[in-house]
């Protein structure tokens, strides 16, 4: 070894650098993928950045932020020119620029593939050669200004001849997107509203068919009052259900043979309540009012649809299809599959029925708005290949037109400003182009960041001056008001004298507040889309907003609780099993097989396990029983038990899964620890006549302490990051009442962070999520340090202290 060291030293100079080279990839990757994100998380936690759509434009370009988000026209409606020092219509140019850029970002009017599709179609001489050339040029230069007005008209003319079916479809999809968003958001808003209370009263399946009006309604179906068309529709729907009559079908629902969650049930009800059917004359079939339709809808929204809607492939894309920002030809197969799912669930009725006399047929009317999607399906099936580029071209033209007709762009071009060459058409924001635009309109110096700071300071100053004036006035008026109040006795809080006094006092308080912390213009920036340093406001929000504080503390509490409840039996069982497995007197056979079996759950995907247990413990109030219900039924509980409706039952299921997945791991670690204990210790114990129990408590356990603590630390760090199982045991955390579950009972810290930063709500609270992450980091660090402190070698520390004192080691 000494020789190696010497040679190492001699050649050391030349080899040292290899040390750096060898660890460089690790260090670089760690800095990029872990350290930098960690530091930015810390930074986000101090930033007011509520939206995940914010773009990072660099720290030096505040100017662009404020131009973009400062709506000075509203702030300074009367004295704008005087305050900003530029004409109002000059400033409007900037607003219009951003309006055009927004349209370009959403509609992608210069999408290369789309433009190529137009050009390819143009080759069939649908569009003149000059327009094609202009398009090509525009694409090459990324400047739509090169496309002349006449060419745009030509393209539009071609598109209008092409087909308007996609327009009908996109309108229809748009309304569907609205419905779907309603369902999804109903769950999300419930979550927030119900945050304060643990349990909410929900509509149950029973309450639907036990309602009084249910029977009345079913009876009314057999009335002879129905028109011929209505009767035909009723018969048709009965045929769809598979029951001889609708009455029998509704009775089957009541008896529990058919679940109210069956999509057919809602389909039948909506078709009666608001028939999607026309008579031969083209009139709508008169409705048969269903009194409890709202209850059914409410129930389905809370229990079935939300989950269904979230499972859609194109859930996020539906809206984009609707507003045209996503072509109907993109991912259309999955779009159609989803529409079919929605149709099957009864949420939407795609196909219109036609009633003539007593027969009902599926309408083939191409013009029928409601039938557009069915026709679209046929269209895809028959013309998919042939019209691929044609449709892409048509879609691209409508995108191009949307940008072209944007009011902001139109106004700027009318002013002779060639705005197109300053717009970036690839969905990014090009600062250089923006500043070039600003210099063309002559506002470079007029509106710079320094100018904004000046305005901000001036605004603050004038606010302070106003507040000062108000404060003085109020203070001067208080003695008189006090005297007036005293004059009437000084104890009537309903009197107008008291109100006057109180008003003055409040004025003093608010003026003092303004003087202390005046509002400038920079605070008025729409903070939803930018990040601005916000100090510790996110933390203040966490600790002062009562609902949020409760939710976050609740999340930490749930995490800790579920970890502890899972860990205690886990470590106890592992200690017991490891003692048995290493007990030489027992001579257990098949040890390695059992170890392997017990470790198995640990290697299986946690998500699979969670979904499986969810299936196992789910509850059906309808006719069919789930596995847990079957078992409980056999044990004498008639309807089983709705585990997910009870906070503690849900938690305990999660705890059990954690226990079940991890005791094998802990056991193996402990066995390794026990086998590493010197054999001679056991031998001498045996000679001294110690029995198994004594050997275990006197020798094994004390020596095992470091290993147990190691398990504790690793388990703690893992436990605080608990996510997969609670997240998936109930797939949709946005829904409070899915299956009656109070999801709050298993909301862990990571689920909360995930919801805030990446959830479904419109305003994504990235700042809050980051601040919560930092709290998690701090908690973990503190706990780890505490455990490490306990873990340190106490004997060595004692020896050190003893040596210092000059004593000798025993």
């Amino acid at each position: 070894m000494a020789r190696a060291n010497n040679t190492g030293k001699r050649k050391g100079m030349s080899y040292t650098r290899y040390g750096y080279i060898f660890i460089a990839p690790f260090v670089i990757a760690y800095c990029i993928f872990s350290l930098y994100p960690l530091l930015t998380t810390f930074w986000f936690s101090t930033a007011n950045m509520q939206s995940a759509t914010a773009q990072f434009w660099g720290f030096g370009n505040y100017e662009a932020y404020y131009d973009r988000y400062l709506d000075l026209t509203k702030l300074y409606s009367d004295s704008f020119e005087q305050d900003v020092g530029i004409k109002k219509n000059e400033y409007v140019k900037i607003r219009n620029y951003f309006s055009a850029q927004d349209k370009a970002d959403t509609y992608d009017p210069l999408n290369e593939e789309g433009i190529q599709a137009i050009i390819a179609n143009g080759a069939n001489s649908l569009v003149s050669q000059s327009a094609i050339d202009e398009l090509q040029q525009a694409l090459n230069n990324k400047d739509l200004g090169l496309l002349s007005q006449s060419s745009v008209e030509e393209l539009k003319a071609w598109r209008s001849q092409y087909s308007d079916i996609s327009l009908i479809i996109s309108q229809k999809v748009s309304s569907i997107a609205g419905t779907v968003a309603d369902i999804a958001n109903a769950g999300a808003s419930d979550d927030e509203e119900a945050a304060a209370e643990e349990e909410t009263e929900a509509v149950t399946a029973e309450s639907i068919y036990t309602a009084e009006n249910y029977d009345t309604f079913v009876e009314s179906l057999s009335n002879s009052d129905l028109t011929e068309e209505q009767q035909a529709l009723v018969n048709y729907l009965a045929g769809q259900t598979g029951y001889p009559t609708l009455q029998e079908y509704f009775n089957a629902v009541k008896n529990g043979e058919v679940s109210v969650e069956d999509p057919m049930f809602f389909y039948v009800l909506t078709n009666l309540n608001k028939p999607n059917a026309v008579t031969a004359a083209g009139e709508s079939v008169p409705a048969i009012s269903v009194p409890f339709i709202d209850t059914v809808e409410e129930y389905l929204k809370a229990n079935v649809w939300g989950d269904l809607v979230k499972s859609l492939n194109t859930f996020d894309s539906l809206e984009a299809y609707g507003d045209g920002s996503k072509g109907l030809h993109e991912d259309e197969e999955s779009l159609y599959a989803d529409l079919e799912t929605l149709n099957n669930a009864g949420i939407i009725n795609i196909v219109k029925l036609q009633v003539s006399g007593s027969s009902v047929i599926v309408s083939n009317d191409q013009k029928s708005d409601a039938n557009a999607l069915a026709i679209y399906r046929t269209f895809i099936d028959t013309a998919y290949e042939a019209n691929d580029t044609e449709l892409a071209a048509a879609v691209q033209i409508s995108k191009l037109t949307t940008y072209y007709e944007d009011q902001g762009r139109v106004l700027l071009t009318a002013l002779g400003i060639s705005v197109d060459k300053y717009i970036s058409f690839d969905g990014t924001f090009d600062l250089d182009k923006y500043f070039a635009f600003k210099s063309e309109v002559g506002l470079t110096d007029a509106l710079s960041y320094d100018r904004y700071k000046e305005l901000d300071a001036a605004r603050k100053e004038s606010n302070v001056a106003n507040a000062q004036k108000k404060l003085e006035e109020a203070e001067a008026a208080i003695p008189a008001a006090q005297a007036a109040y005293d004059a009437i006795g000084g104890n009537d809080t309903n009197s107008k004298e008291y109100n006057a006094l109180r008003k003055l006092e409040l004025q003093v308080i608010s003026s003092k507040d303004t003087i202390k912390d005046p509002t400038g213009i920079l605070e008025k920036v729409d903070a939803r889309y930018v990040y601005i340093f916000d100090g510790l406001n996110n933390y203040a929000e966490i600790f002062t907003n009562k609902t949020r504080f409760n939710t976050i503390v609740g999340a930490f509490w749930n995490t800790a609780l579920m970890w502890v409840i899972g860990f205690i039996p886990q470590i106890l069982l592992a200690l017991l099993l490891s003692a048995w497995f290493t007990d030489t007197k027992l001579h257990l056979k098949g040890l390695s097989l059992m170890k392997a079996l017990m470790y198995l759950p640990n290697v299986i995907t946690a998500v699979t396990v969670a979904i499986f247990f969810r299936r196992l413990f789910s509850y059906s109030s309808g006719g069919t029983l789930t596995p847990s219900q079957i078992i409980l039924h056999a044990m004498g509980m008639e309807q089983g038990y709705n585990f997910f409706a009870n906070a503690w039952a849900t938690r305990l299921i999660v705890c059990f899964i954690n226990f079940w997945m991890w005791y094998g791991n802990t056991m193996i670690v402990l066995i390794a620890g026990i086998t590493s204990i010197s054999e001679s210790l056991y031998e001498s114990a045996q000679i001294d006549g110690a029995n198994s129990f004594q050997t275990y408590t006197r020798i094994t356990l004390p020596l095992l302490r470091p290993i147990v603590l190691f398990t504790l630390v690793t388990s703690l760090i893992g436990g605080l990051q608990m996510f997969d199982i609670p997240q998936n045991i109930n797939v949709n955390p946005a829904l409070v009442n899915f299956n009656g579950t109070m999801i709050k009972s298993i909301r862990t810290v990571l689920i909360y962070i995930n919801n805030q930063a990446f959830g479904m709500q419109d305003v994504k609270q990235v700042g809050i999520a980051a601040a919560t992450s930092v709290l998690l980091f701090v908690v973990t660090t503190i706990l780890s340090i505490i455990i490490f402190y306990l873990m340190r070698d106490k004997d060595a520390a004692k020896a050190k202290r003893a040596l210092k004192k000059g004593g000798t080691r025993k």
């Binding site: 080899y15 040292t16 960690l38 499972s311 470790y599 499986f612 066995i671 390794a672 930063a757």
Partner: protein, 291 residues
């Protein structure tokens, strides 16, 4: 434990009774560990109606027919594509495992073979960051990936594997006991470059440690849910755990199919585990896995 010695008979009998108790408990937990998987596999061979009628712990007499049916129903679902999920998971897991193993070996080697300034500090930092929960930086990580335009791509799930502190730590522990400087010296004298020495001479020595760490890295990546669920949103990018998470989507689809999907996601892991369990368990025993 010779029974023909009368003195010891009573003691031996009590030990036997004790060991029967132990067997009962141990076998109970062994069964508990595999029962859910058995349940999944068996139910995958039945149709929905039979599953609703009672708990099925035995295979369907015409298993293959029903298996094929359930499989087809599964394949028809737009949200669950086993082939795509499997492919995505495999690419990510293989990629990240290869990176973890190679670069961790490189780092551990660099830290134990060379003497350079700050080496001890760096190692101490690596041990320290092992304890940092990986999920806390997710908001920053998401932003970084979105600004790099890597959302939906597999790279954010593969590249960070280059820096795996715990793997480095365990490989370094292994190197300290099994790598001697003499081999490196000999190689240097023969004129081999440092990289050649590492790749051709030292890497093979490390194989046992690399295999163990590789298995855990692979399993970790294969089972990962948190990061993929945030970074991947299009169905063609989704990994198997994300696909499985969607299985429960609509509640009136058939249960045979749900169990089929669950089984399909479990089976590959069980098969791999059956072959590698000895290495996995010895790896766990060496403390090579974090909860």
């Amino acid at each position: 434990m010779s029974a023909n010695e009368p003195k010891l008979r009573s003691k031996s009998a009590s030990i036997r009774a004790y060991s029967i108790l132990v067997y009962v408990v141990v076998i109970f937990f062994s069964i508990l560990a595999i029962l859910p998987f058995w349940f999944m596999f068996m139910n995958a061979t039945w149709d929905t109606l039979s599953i609703q009628r009672g708990i099925k712990l035995w295979p369907n007499p015409n298993s293959f027919e029903q298996l094929a049916k359930n499989w087809n129903n599964l394949a028809e679902r737009s949200t669950f594509s086993f082939a795509i999920g499997f492919k995505n998971s495999l690419i990510i897991s293989v990629g990240s495992t290869a990176l973890t193993v190679y670069f961790s070996a490189l780092t551990a080697y660099g830290l134990s073979v060379y003497n350079f300034k700050g080496k001890k500090t760096i190692f101490a930092i690596i041990v320290g960051v092992m304890m940092v929960p990986t999920a806390v930086n997710i908001t920053g990580f998401y932003r970084l990936m979105s600004s790099m335009g890597l959302l939906g791509s597999k790279w954010p799930l593969i590249l960070p594997a280059i820096a795996a502190p715990s793997t480095v730590f365990f490989i370094k522990q292994y190197l300290e006991t099994s790598l001697s400087m003499e081999i490196i010296e000999a190689s240097r004298i023969d004129g081999a470059s440092e990289f050649y020495t590492f790749n051709r001479i030292c890497l093979p020595i490390m194989i046992p440690a690399l295999a163990t760490q590789g298995i855990f890295s692979f399993l970790g990546s294969w089972n990962n849910f948190f990061a993929p669920s945030i970074l991947l949103s299009r169905s063609e990018d989704k990994t198997l755990p994300l696909m499985v998470a969607q299985l429960y989507g609509d509640r009136y689809t058939d249960y045979g199919m749900i169990y089929m999907g669950l089984s399909a996601s479990v089976l590959p892991v069980v098969i791999v585990y059956a072959f590698l369990q000895r290495y996995i368990i010895s790896g766990v025993a060496a403390g090579g896995v974090k909860e």
